[in-house]
């Protein structure tokens, strides 16, 4: 049987013949039940159109790679390690469940010309070709000659 859950100001109680839970903050066993989200909740999670599913990011970060390196915003990132010119490590607060995640990264070259693009590469573990589950190494280099440089702003998103 499908169970529909909706509430304009939150959900205080769920009943299914008998009371299942008085407070969703307490442990709630919904095994064997199907939950259908209200239409507005589905809209927030899905793509704007079409039936392809959408997936949440496991981690993300936006940081300055020049001057005083600083994190502008992040999620599930405990720190950035400045390893030298153009070399940064993104450390995850909670590790990825496996090494088969996908990465999206973008960097801008200079504050005075922020539209310029830098090439960002993702360093895998030496020799193995695998990502680490607890961190991700990112390098920034010029598109013209591949030499390392400090990108003005770098954004990284992890999905997996």
């Amino acid at each position: 049987m499908a169970v529909n859950i909706s509430g304009d100001t939150g959900i205080d109680k769920i009943t299914d013949g008998s009371v299942v839970a008085d407070d969703l903050a307490s442990t709630l066993d919904l095994s064997g039940k199907t939950i259908t989200l209200a239409t507005d909740a589905v809209d927030q999670l899905s793509t704007a159109s079409g039936s392809a599913p959408s997936y949440s990011a496991r981690a993300w970060v936006n940081f300055n790679g020049t001057g005083t390196v600083a994190i502008n915003g992040s999620g599930n990132v405990s720190s950035i390690t400045d390893q030298g010119t153009g070399k940064y490590r993104v450390n995850f607060t909670d590790s990825m469940p496996n090494a088969n995640y996908a990465v999206g990264a973008f960097g801008t070259e200079e504050s005075s010309n922020a539209g310029d693009r830098s090439d960002l590469s993702i360093n895998s573990a030496k020799g193995s070709g695998s990502f680490a589950t607890s961190y991700l190494d990112v390098t920034s280099c010029y598109t013209s000659n591949a030499s390392l440089f400090d990108a003005y702003k770098i954004t990284v998103v992890i999905i997996g």
Binding site: I71, S74, N76, S78, S79, G84, T93, D150
Partner: protein
């Protein structure tokens, strides 16, 4: 967070950890993100140069 964590790499260069606002203390971040066995130092952000021209030549004294 106005603190930074500094440690020396095997090749003599230094790495600088910039903590995120993730709910962990600077000590917890150091314990988690500094490579095992590395001695580290927690310093004020103001102690780190902002001129990175010779970043790869920085050393810790």
């Amino acid at each position: 967070m106005d603190k930074r964590i500094v440690y020396t790499n095997d090749d003599g260069t230094i790495s600088i950890i910039i903590p995120a606002d993730c709910g962990l203390t600077i000590e917890e971040i150091a314990a988690k993100d500094v490579p095992a066995g590395k001695e580290y130092h927690i310093v004020d952000k103001s102690e780190i140069p902002s001129d990175r021209t010779y970043r790869n030549a920085w050393t810790w004294e």
